[in-house]
Symmetry: C2
Amino acid sequence: MEPFDVHILGCGSAKPTHKHFPTCQVVNIRGKLMMIDCGEAAQMQFARQKLNMNRLGHLFISHNHGDHVFGLPGLISTMALLGRTSEFHIYGPQQIEEYLNVIMKIYCEGIDYKVIFHSVRTREHYLLFEDKSIEVWSIPLEHRIPCCGYLFREKPSLPHIRREMIDAFNIPVSQINNIKAGASWTLDDGTVIPHEQLTYPAEKPRSYAYCSDTIYLPQLKEILKGTTLLFHEATYPHEMLARATETRHTTALQAATLARDAEVHQLCIGHYSGRIKDEDVHLAEAKSVFQNTILAQERLVIPL
Amino acid sequence: MEPFDVHILGCGSAKPTHKHFPTCQVVNIRGKLMMIDCGEAAQMQFARQKLNMNRLGHLFISHNHGDHVFGLPGLISTMALLGRTSEFHIYGPQQIEEYLNVIMKIYCEGIDYKVIFHSVRTREHYLLFEDKSIEVWSIPLEHRIPCCGYLFREKPSLPHIRREMIDAFNIPVSQINNIKAGASWTLDDGTVIPHEQLTYPAEKPRSYAYCSDTIYLPQLKEILKGTTLLFHEATYPHEMLARATETRHTTALQAATLARDAEVHQLCIGHYSGRIKDEDVHLAEAKSVFQNTILAQERLVIPL
């Protein structure tokens, strides 16, 4: 199966700790790398993970808080130093553009590649990007400033050919793409071998949903329905619900409730408050509602 | 003796490597912390070193290249989150102010402390800051843009009292400060005990000079004469002299030559090019000219 992995490069929140870097993730979809958020030191974590910057074409930013964007000038400068010439696309709420423009003006004048900003409407769920195999959709979130999540989805693949049928019926190679696309095969005596007998179904398309930072939004279960992996912030344990609500964040219990209600396959929680000493409390709390939960940590790679 | 330590938080150059963070150092002079340069992830490295942000009052920036300033927004934001109320002073070439103003406007509006910028004249060697025990001076450097180094110097201390003399001559405690300040002591019979007999000299004032980034400037030996510890960039080995000259950097051999000519006590080299695989080549080269040389590395603490 083609790779579809999520690399956690940073999963802390705004206050620094000894343990965590601020938010940054990289999604590897079939060898194509897409970054999500760009907290300070994103480029160092990227290098440590031995990821290839030439394969990084897109960055999706959730919102314009420092712990999600302060890695941006370093990333853009370093790609220029490494001789990049291909376009780099940044998606995010409109507010990010002012900072980006200043970085480009002061530190990146005359670089050899284009940085293209795409403003995202954070209150809508809509298709932002697609190519022949994947789609990226926005997920409306609610934080103290405009904020959205992102849904990465494989497009359905064509079914696989049953090698033994091709051999048995002597089907020429030139017909294989037609059969994959849905055609049947007619023998010389007129017998029709149906498409279903010549193929077996493709794997179910995989999907990754990223939700950070936000208050608990139960209605997201519709958008997230059946997602393979959901990353959801869980800044606080549920005993700090008042603080979570006030700062527009989610508790571990709430994140797990959403995962359960959306019937996702796996939940990964992170964006831990700097006040939290023991993240196992988050994990136990989430697992009490949704068993297939893991804790984000730096350098973790989650295959879908 | 009061502490005077240099913490290396980052000693790489602009291109990221697996091993190095971009430039940042912290000088601990008698419990007061002063940061030098503020490359990306400075605040994380600061936290990992278990340094106390409340003791950090000053930042001295050499020049406005990204690998020396991209940690600035994170540092300023985090100090605000930690509840800082005391002023924070930033010294550096005028060019830095534009970036600083944008950061303050977009990400730090309404924070509870003042960030005060002091523009440094990079072509002059002059006193920038002093308090009762230390001085900080600028060191003119030459790089592709205006750039300066910094010299941290203890002021001479008063001599130490010889406890046994005080006891022998029954000198009252009230007179000790006078004696430290240079007074002699007259016995009842008129005999004068000279100051020198009552005291022993204070330790020689220590000094730390920071020179990065710059072409080799032999004339600096005057300013650096007798410095306790010199940090000097050594971006390239000497076989890459042409590249060093072109990019306005120094080779390890040149840095060591300056250390020898300035008769410093110890040399620390760093700011390694991302092209360098083996820093031991730098070390061997520098030691061939100046034996008391060490390699900078992240989290190294050098006591003076």
